[in-house]
């Protein structure tokens, strides 16, 4: 069976530093997590997947189609959308406007219908607004629709980013540390939401996460990166007991204790 999304032998160098080295990754459905210590190359991998970086070697395909050389907006139009580790909302726009921007790639209208305000334009526009309201509803932000994004609480901003990414109607959603800065119960609620998305929309999700409780609970499969290389891959419970993974985390003296607890 061919994978929905596949990366093979992906390498990215920045000057003398190899940020990602010959990483293979494939996903067909469900939730896959990418974990690893800080600086392991997780976000770099995301940036390659979404076209922000061009890999030096290797190939990336989505639904059998190569993504190398495509612009980020073209990749989004194909059905891959993402969130960012450091939230990158359109801060001075309202929540619902943020979601509406996410729909841009699939609006089939040029300049003329906008200027003439044709019936078709108004129909499509009205459809977009109600769809955006529905998406906000889905992440529990319906009441904040008219709030300016920068005024939302931190957890709401993270969920708004997910709603905005969903607005592109992706088949594959990439989430970069979606629970960062959330309380354990907020994180739990978010994971429940992700599971529903997988079930309802048949969405595949790749997750970068530091919260191990979340990772172990929600992932179908876990990939571990260290120093830009893949050191382990498999179901969460197997990865958890992999000696190389434990070494990668415990080998770092200063935060060994915290990581060990987190891995428990």
């Amino acid at each position: 069976m061919t994978s929905l999304f596949e990366a093979r032998g992906v390498t990215k160098r920045f000057g003398g530093l190899t940020a990602v080295h010959r990483v293979d990754f494939a996903l067909t459905s469900g939730i896959a997590s990418i974990i690893g210590p800080n600086g392991a190359g997780k976000t770099t991998l995301f940036n390659i997947f979404t076209g922000l970086y061009r890999p030096d070697e290797g190939m990336v395909t989505f639904q059998g189609r190569s993504l190398i050389g495509l612009r980020p907006d073209e990749i989004t139009a194909l059905g891959i959308c993402r969130t960012f580790q450091n939230i990158r909302l359109f801060r001075n726009m309202t929540a619902i406007e943020n979601v509406l921007v996410g729909m841009h790639a699939r609006i089939p209208l040029g300049l003329a219908p906008v200027l003439a305000r044709t019936a078709r334009f108004r129909r499509i526009e009205a459809g977009l607004w109600s769809e955006a309201a529905g998406l906000l509803d889905r992440v529990g932000l319906r009441r904040a629709a008219n709030e300016v994004a920068k005024n939302l609480p931190y957890g709401d901003q993270r969920r708004l980013e997910i709603a905005r990414a969903l607005a592109a109607r992706p088949t594959l959603l990439l989430l970069d540390e979606p629970t960062a800065g959330m309380t354990q119960s907020e994180a739990g609620a978010l994971m429940a939401l992700l599971r529903r998305l997988v079930a309802d929309l048949r969405l595949a999700i790749i997750l970068i996460e530091h919260n191990m409780r979340v990772v172990m609970e929600v992932s179908d499969r876990v990939t571990v990166l260290d120093h830009g290389e893949k050191i382990a891959e498999g179901p969460p419970e197997l990865v958890q007991s992999d000696p190389r993974v434990i070494e990668a985390y415990l080998g770092r003296a200063s935060w060994a204790g915290r990581r060990a607890r987190a891995l428990d």
């Binding site: 979404t50 922000l52 612009r71 980020p72 907006d73 989004t76 139009a77 959308c81 993402r82 960012f84 990158r88 909302l89 359109f90 801060r91 001075n92 726009m93 309202t94 619902i96 406007e97 509406l100 921007v101 996410g102 729909m103 841009h104 790639a105 699939r106 609006i107 300049l111 906008v114 200027l115 305000r117 334009f121 526009e125 607004w129 109600s130 309201a133 529905g134 509803d137 889905r138 992440v139 529990g140 319906r142 629709a145 008219n146 300016v148 957890g155 969920r159 905005r164 990414a165 607005a167 592109a168 309380t183 119960s185 907020e186 609620a189 978010l190 429940a192 939401l193 529903r196 309802d200």
Partner: protein, 412 residues
């Protein structure tokens, strides 16, 4: 509400009367402008607001112009700058692309009509020019197209630049256009260099109205169209994409906004308004030369956008009005007044103004006062006079199918 309505009507009537009684008084005309602004801002029903504005702009203003033609000239200038400010507002205010050479597009439009609408083109193509005056209307469209194309030509090489770098390149572009206009009198005389082009033909004014009135109404009409276009753009996925680019270019692209296309569209839309107004300007002035398109003009239009409130349509309109009126009327009137004091030999605190050295000519204060006003504005109201307000929308209740179980309340 009733109080506001009465006040708006009253102010407008009083100010109109004042201008009619003292047609030379700067203050009377300022009062009229204030009354128009009040009518716009007052909490009154929309029908009353728009009919008051229509009466003021369509009826009272031309009558005032009959008393004092200079005021109609000021109003026309205001209209021209409003259109320019609205065009630049798309590029700078919405899309966040800092353009310091905006007046170049205005120049391109102006020269398009100046060359073909004057005998000057005979030097280039042999006989047959100027084109018949009615082609002026055709050239409004040509000006739009030429402006848009120039905008795209500028946009293409600077797409990768942001912020400061973009500002520098656009500044250079503005200067290039001006220097070209200044020097393209050899080897082929396209622009007649610093001597400028004259006489530029005007279309015959319809219904026997004067040229002052004709250009006033023409500019007013174009401004209304520009405002309409601006609103429709802003209120669509195109406007949202522009704002997204302004807020976070990288995130916008990651959400599927094609950066190249949307940025070029912003440059083209903004430039096209300037192109049209350039055509009107050259016909109105009959004479143009490169002096009308200096860097200072670009900065002036930018100041209008920033003063009014970036990304805000009413802000751009008000900013353009305030800056133009300040420059053409208030500060001019102020220096005239100082000059009178000086020539009358008035003494202040034992100092005779007649002894004032020439370095302190009142006319020289104009720029300084304008600069001080800008600085004070930026300190005390950096968001502008009428900042862009986020539109609040009433959202229809979601269709039942869209109602999903909510995320559990997150507060433990």
């Amino acid at each position: 509400m009733i109080l506001h309505g009465v006040a708006a009507v009253g102010l407008l009537a009083v100010s109109g009367f004042a201008v009619a009684t003292y047609p030379r008084s700067v203050l009377a005309f300022l009062l009229f402008q204030g009354a128009v602004l009040f009518a716009y801002l007052a909490r009154i029903p929309p029908w009353l607001k728009w009919s008051l504005l229509a009466v003021a702009l369509l009826g009272m203003m031309p009558i005032i112009g009959a008393y004092n033609g200079y005021y109609l000239e000021i109003a026309t200038q205001v209209g021209i700058f409003v259109a320019l400010a609205l065009g630049l507002n798309i590029v700078v205010g919405l899309a966040g692309l800092l353009d310091l050479g905006y007046v170049a597009f205005y120049a391109v439009g102006a020269y398009a009509w100046a060359i073909y609408g004057s005998p000057h083109a005979n030097l280039i193509f042999g006989g047959g020019f100027p084109l018949p005056a009615w082609t002026f209307y055709l050239f409004l469209v040509v000006g739009l197209a030429v402006g848009a194309v120039t905008g795209i030509l500028l946009g293409l090489p600077v797409l990768r630049l942001r912020g400061d770098y973009l500002a520098i390149v656009t500044l250079g572009f503005g200067e290039v256009i001006r220097v070209l206009a200044n020097n393209l009198d050899k080897p082929i005389n396209l622009t007649n260099g610093p001597k400028g082009i004259t006489p530029i033909s005007r279309p015959p004014a319809p219904f026997g109205i004067s040229y002052g009135e004709y250009f006033y109404f023409l500019v007013l009409l174009i401004v209304l169209v520009v405002i309409l276009v601006n609103r429709r753009l802003e209120d669509s996925h195109i406007g949202r994409a522009w704002e997204a680019i302004r807020e976070d270019e990288l995130a916008a692209q990651a959400m599927g906004v094609p950066l190249v296309r949307m940025k070029l569209l912003a440059f083209a839309c903004g430039a096209s308004f300037a192109g049209i107004m350039g055509v009107v300007f050259s016909a109105k002035q009959v004479f143009i030369n490169p002096e009308s398109f200096t860097f200072l003009e670009s900065i002036g239009v930018l100041a209008m956008v920033i003063l009014g409130g970036m990304g805000s349509i009413p802000g751009a309109v008000l900013g353009a009005t305030v800056v133009t009126v300040l420059n053409l009327q208030v500060l001019k009137g102020f220096s005239l007044w100082l000059n009178e004091l000086k020539s009358a030999g008035v003494t202040i605190l034992g100092f005779n103004l007649a002894d004032l050295p020439t370095q302190f000519e009142p006319a020289k204060y104009e720029r300084m006062i304008f600069g001080v006003i800008l600085i004070l504005m930026m300190i005390f109201r950096p968001q502008g006079i009428l900042p862009a307000r986020r539109r609040q929308r009433e959202l229809a209740e979601p269709a039942p199918a869209a109602v999903q179980p909510q995320v559990e309340p997150t507060i433990p």
